[in-house]
Each structure stands twice: as C-alpha cells, then as structure tokens.
C-alpha cells in the first residue's frame, strides 16, 4: 500500500486490513415517495446503515411571514390555511387568537365552541393522514385508503359549515365566517360514533400488526431530555413520555371546561420514545378528540343559541402598537404566532413558530445508526408537513 492509500479519507472506513468500503451518499428527495413533500435529506450510508443525514428545507418557501406584513389582518387568514394544509382550521385558530389577543376582541361563546369542534375535527383529519401515510411509508397501502374514507366525511362536514374542503378560511379575527347550519351538530356526533368504531379497525389492521410493530419499535428512539432539548412539541414530545399539551397546560378557548386525557408514550412495545409510541400517541389522540367533540357539542347546544358568531369589530381592524405571542396545540405540536402591531391595519411583523420545522430538526440526530428503511419510518413518525416547514 502506498502512503496515500493508507491514510483513510473522510467517509471511508476500514473493515478488514486492505478492504475499504466507501460510504455512499444518497440524495433522498426532494422527489422521493416518502419524504412527505419536498424535503431533501442527504444521507450518507454504509451499505444499508445510515452514518449521517442532513435535511435541506425551503423548496416551497412562500414568504408567509412577509405576506402578513403586506395584507390586512382579515386578508391573511387564507394564507394561514396554507402552511399546514392538513390542519388548516388549527392554523386559522392560532392566527385568529393572536390577532384577537392583540386587538382585545371579545369572541361570542358560540363561536368559541364551534372553533373547538372544528379544531378537534381537523386534528382527527390530520392524524388520519399521519396514520395513513405512515402505513404507506412502511408498505401497507390499505390503511391509507381507509383513513381517507373517514377523512372524506370529516371534510364534507367542513364543507357544510364553511364551504371548503381543505383550505377553510373559516375563522376570522373576532369569530367565524358562518354559524353552523342546521343538523350539523348531529352529523358531527354521528361522525364521532362511526369514527370510534373504525378506529378499532385501524388498530387491528395496522397498529397491532406484528410486522408494523417490528418495523417501529425501538426505532428512532428520542429520549425525553433530547426531545425537550430539540424543542419538540406535540405527539413527538408526548411520544417520548413528556406530558405537555397546550390544551391542558395553558388552556385556550374552553379547553379547561372539557375533560380529556393527554396520551403519552409508555414504551408499550419497546422503548419509550420510539416510532411506535409517537404513532400511537396520535392514534390515542384521535379518540380523545372525539371525546372532546362530544362534550363541546353538548355544551354548545346547552349554553348558546344560534346567532351571533362574530365579535363587533370595525370594518378594517387597526391594532394599537403591541406585541403578543399565542401558541396553540396543532396536530403536529405548538403552533405559535408572535404578532407585533404598530397601529396600522397591517401587522408590523408576524413570526410563525411551526411545529413541523422544529420537529424536523431532530432528524440529523436520530437517523445515524439506523437503516435506510428506518429513515423512512422515522421521518414518517415525526409527521412533518413540508408546507409548514418551509412556510
């Protein structure tokens, strides 16, 4: 061997004395079936084992924050639909709560109840996609379509109340665009009942499937300390066994008036904080959501009458100089809006804290040492929406 050969280059490793293998650099994405959009992860792999992973984001950056400075408060609502497009209602809600807090608007109670119902319905819809695409990532196609079947109903519920199926623009600062149409609450309750039944089917078909468990347990373990250190929120944090849910720890809307559990990962199948735990937290949350919805419908019908769902506010909202931060529990974690106003009808600055973006930051830390097939499982279990990562 010459000297040149005997000094190992970076990225090479010696296995047997004179046999050298070179790590392979693989470009996963931006066009890859399971990066959930246009995420690009550059993976260095030694055979099937990943040695390092670097995510690159920004392929669908749409300047949401800058747009917020250029349009009026009401006009920005449709843009909020578009960062986490799978949970548009929750985005609407986060932004509206921030503006309402800054403008000190009084929202009618009926609007608040309906907001809660919509937010929870949308949480179910979003988790259904997480469930379905996770199955898809692991090679099970059928649960995906079963999930979509129920999600379709959820979307038609939204279509009935606001007229849109994906990007709702339903909540505006001060309240809602419309009151619920007649019979809507009954259908919501019916949906909850059917959904609870179907949930058991998902459980048997995917969650308890041996292959699925083997693929997800002890994979991509995020210890609680690490999860906190990386600023994870939502199911990713709770999957690591940390009981932190904004609906419980800092209740907004009327979440303090309904009772619900916060599922946390318990390491039922393997280690606390593995992919299965994160996945199962989402599944369990869906059941909690139907529970919340039932209580909300009951309380809403008992306490309010159809009618006013919009606060009294001037035609163009102008907010005196102030700064507010409002975080809400999005299906993917804490969605924060930091709003700075300067007395004009447009925001001076709006900073959006996207949960997917923060959750994604853990990928370089947990991918090394796993297999390429696991990379797909881990990215899927973090459940990112690229629209919100890039905003």
């Amino acid at each position: 061997m010459t000297d040149l050969e005997s000094t190992p280059k970076e990225g090479t490793r010696e296995i047997v004395l004179d046999v050298r293998t070179q790590d392979m650099e693989i470009n996963m994405g931006p066009q890859h079936p399971s990066t959930h959009g246009v995420l690009r992860v550059v993976i260095t792999a030694d055979g099937e084992i990943i040695t390092s992973a670097r995510p690159y984001v920004g392929y669908i950056h749409r300047c949401a924050e800058k747009i917020a400075e250029c349009v009026t408060y009401d006009q920005f609502v449709p843009y909020t639909d578009r960062y986490d497009y799978l949970a548009a209602m929750n985005n609407n809600l986060g932004y509206c709560l921030a503006v309402e807090k800054a403008a000190e608007l009084e929202v009618p109670p009926r609007a608040t109840w309906i907001r809660m119902i919509c937010a929870e319905l949308n949480r179910i819809g979003s988790h259904l996609i997480a469930f379905g695409t996770y199955g898809l990532d692991l090679g099970a196609f059928t649960p995906f379509l079963y999930g979509f079947r129920e999600r379709e109903w959820m979307m038609s519920l939204f279509e009935k109340i606001c007229g849109a199926r994906l990007t709702y623009s339903f909540m505006f600062p001060g309240g809602l665009a419309n009151d619920a149409p007649e019979g809507w609450f009954d259908e919501v309750l019916r949906f909850c009942d059917v959904f609870d039944r179907k949930w058991r089917e998902y459980d048997a078909l995917l969650t308890r499937n041996k292959i699925f468990i083997e693929r997800t347990r002890d994979v991509g373990v995020i210890p609680a300390e690490m999860a906190k250190a990386y600023g994870l929120t939502g199911p990713c944090l709770r999957g690591s066994g940390v009981r932190f849910d904004l609906r419980e720890s800092a209740p907004y809307l009327f979440y303090d008036r309904v009772s619900f559990d916060v599922p946390v990962g318990q390491g039922e199948m393997g280690t606390v904080g593995d992919c299965w735990d994160r996945y199962f937290v989402r599944m369990a949350e869906m059941l909690q959501s139907t529970r919340i919805i039932r209580q909300c419908v009951e309380l809403c019908l008992a306490e309010t009458t159809p009618g006013e769902v919009m606060a009294k506010k001037p035609k163009t909202l102008k907010i005196p100089p102030t700064e507010v931060y409002v975080g809400v529990e999005n299906p993917r974690g804490e969605l924060g809006h930091y709003l700075v106003t300067d007395g004009k009808d447009k925001a001076f600055r709006l900073k959006i804290r996207g949960p997917s973006f923060c959750n994604l930051s853990i990928i370089p830390a947990i991918l090394p040492g796993t297999m390429i097939a696991d990379a797909v499982a881990i990215i899927g279990s973090i459940d990112i929406v690229l629209g919100e990562v890039d905003r």
Binding site: E48, G139, A140, T142, R215, I372, A373
Partner: protein, 372 residues
C-alpha cells in the same frame, strides 16, 4: 432485441436437459429425429411464451381489481367490461413509451438484465405439468431445474441494479441478492420434503401420485402427512413469496424506500419485462406449490381417473391446476394489500430464525413419517 435472446436460449436449454423424457410436442414430432426435437422446442417456446405473457395481463387486472375492492375502491373499470382490457392498454402504452437508457449506465448489461430476468421465468414455465401430457418438458430433474431457473432472476436483478448506475437501484439489487440467496434454503428444504415423500423429482409424477386416497384428497401431500407437510407448505409459500419479491417481501423494489428499487431507471418495454416477470412468476410459484402440496391437477373428492386419459379430461386437469394456482395467487394479492413491508434485517431473521428451523423439523419429521 438483445433482451429477447436469453428467454429463447433458456427454453432451448430446458429442452436440452429434458433428455429422454417425454413431452407434449416430442410425441407430436417424434422424439427421435433432430428436426423433431428442434421443432418441438420452437413450438414449446411459443406456447410457453404465450401463456407466460397472457397470465400477467390477467393478474395485473386481478391485482388492481382485488386491491380496489379491498380498499373500497372500484379498480380499473374503463377499458373493456370490468376493465379487463386495461392491462392490454397498459402494455401497449409501455411498448410505445420512450426507451430511456441513463447516460452513465452500462448499456449492454442494462439491456441484457430484463431479458435475463424474464428468461428464467419463461423457461421454468416449460416445466409445469398442466396435465398428464400437457407439459412442455418433463425433465427427470424437474424440481431442481425449476429451483435453479427461479434463482436465475437474481442475476438479472443484480445486473439491472448495477448497470443502472443509480444508488437506489444498487441498494435494491443488494437486497434482492441477500433475500433470494437466503430464502433458497427453506425453499429447497421444503421442496425436498415433496421429493422425499414421492420419491421422484418430476413434478408430473408427483401430481400423478397425489390422485385418489381417502376422499380422493388423502394423497395430497398436505393431507397425507398433515403434521409436517402442512407447516412445510406454509414455509414454502412464504419462501416463494420472498422469491417473487411480493409484499411483504418486496424490499428490492420498496417504492416508499428505494423509489422503485432495481428497476428505478427502467422504462417502456424494458420495464414491462420486469413487470411481466413478477406477475408470471406469481403464477409459476403457485403452480409449483400446487403440484407438490395441493394435489396438482386432481379434483378433490373425485377419483384421479376423471382428469387423466382423454383429451377432454386433460383440459379439465389443466383448468383445475390453473384454478388452484389462482387461489394461491389471490392469497398473494390479499397479503400484499394487508401487510406492511418487512425490513431487510427482519427478512433475514425470519428466514434463518424461523423458516429454516421449521423447514428442517418438517424434513426430519417427514423422514420419520415416511419410514413409519
């Protein structure tokens, strides 16, 4: 063009190893003359090729239709009645698509690989006994030849993965190589159980031996020796699933991990070769399992004489074999649309920790059973 050569070569090879055995077309042309065996080889190739390319048309339709219904969709329903002609339309589309060879690919191997993959499969078709006489080549070493031809595709897949000059393809090919080589062990052992029980290596003779018996199913291997042959059948089925790269063992293609695995870079007609191979080999391995464990062409509860003797009976026999194989293919489709995909290390685990020991136990058990 180069892709079509290996199948032709393979079929001649299969004919060659046929040796002194009997076959449908040899009888026809007279086995003695050189021209006769050449003509019978050509005709055999034509028949096998036709069958092997017609079946995938049916199976792709079945797969899409069945998966559709399992997912509460409809599946193809536009082209022809119940969308039956859909696969033909797809085939035509694939044929007219641009045939792309990546700039840095190894052109010769890239072109050769799909043909090689198809070759083993088509040649293996010649060994399936559809009825007592409807067999293109009844080789005395039938079972082994079949196993050898089945494993020929791994060469083509590795070739395709390497020649594409694509990292995903390479990974897919590596997985395929590891998976195939491993699963040949339980598969081989299970085939050995059949060989042991019937004391023959010819699939045709095995099928004949399974006629009659208790309720006319008693001689089927899984009933004749239920304690050991049934687990062996299940093991064989799983190993064959892995062999055909069907879910949950579709790691070499693993569309959510490796984009499309070893055939990522293939398009048009070359891609359709891989496609054809997958679906035809589904039938092939099912037929193999049927011939060995499920009584071949024998009809349950009816004596073996019903399906042997006359031409009509043999057509019935062929139909029975096809129906039985279809049932197994249906289970393959059913499994695919139910299960997630296994990871590569778990595939190895399953093979070496579960299937191989079980297969060995069954083998020893069968020895005891036969010597009883």
């Amino acid at each position: 063009m180069i892709s079509a050569l290996p199948p032709a070569a393979a079929i001649f090879l299969a004919q060659g190893t046929g040796g002194e055995s009997r076959s449908l077309f040899r009888d026809l042309f007279g086995a003695g003359s050189g021209w006769g065996s050449f003509a019978s080889a050509v005709l055999g190739f034509a028949v096998v090729f036709a069958v092997a390319s017609a079946l995938p048309v049916l199976f792709t339709w079945a797969e899409r239709r069945v998966s559709g219904r399992m997912q509460q969709r409809r599946g193809p329903n536009r082209v022809g009645p119940f969308g039956l002609v859909q696969a033909v339309a797809d085939g035509v589309k694939l044929m007219f698509k641009e045939d792309i060879i990546p700039a840095n690919a190894e052109r010769f191997l890239f072109a050769l690989a799909p043909g090689l993959v198809l070759a083993g499969m088509i040649a293996a078709f010649a060994l399936i006994p559809f009825s007592e006489r409807a067999i293109v080549v009844d080789a005395p070493l039938g079972v082994y030849l079949l196993a050898a031809l089945l494993s020929l595709q791994v060469l083509g897949v590795v070739m395709a993965g390497w020649a594409s000059n694509n990292k995903w393809s390479l990974l897919g090919a590596m997985r395929e190589a590891a998976q195939m080589v491993s699963y040949e062990i339980p598969m081989g052992i299970c085939l050995l159980i059949g060989v042991l029980s019937f004391s023959t290596l010819s699939l045709r003779e095995m099928s004949l031996a399974q006629a009659d018996g208790w309720l006319n199913v008693g001689n089927w291997l899984i009933f004749r020796n239920p304690l050991f042959a049934f687990p062996a059948f299940v093991v064989l089925y799983v190993a064959l699933l892995a062999n055909t790269k069907r879910a949950p063992f579709d790691l070499p293609e693993a569309e959510s991990e490796l984009v499309s695995g070893f055939h990522t870079e293939y398009s048009g007609i070359r891609f359709s070769f891989f496609f054809l191979e997958e679906y035809a080999s589904m039938f092939l391995v099912s037929a193999l399992a049927v011939c060995m464990f499920l009584g071949g062409w024998n009809i349950p509860f009816l004596p073996g004489s019903v399906v042997t003797g006359s031409v009509g009976a043999e057509i019935l026999a062929a139909l029975v074999l096809i129906v039985k194989s279809f049932a197994l293919v249906f289970v393959m489709i059913w499994l695919r649309w139910t299960l997630p995909r296994i990871r590569i290390d778990q595939v190895m685990n399953l093979c070496y920790k579960y299937l191989t020991p079980i297969a060995f136990v069954c083998l020893i058990g069968t020895c005891w059973w036969e010597l009883r």
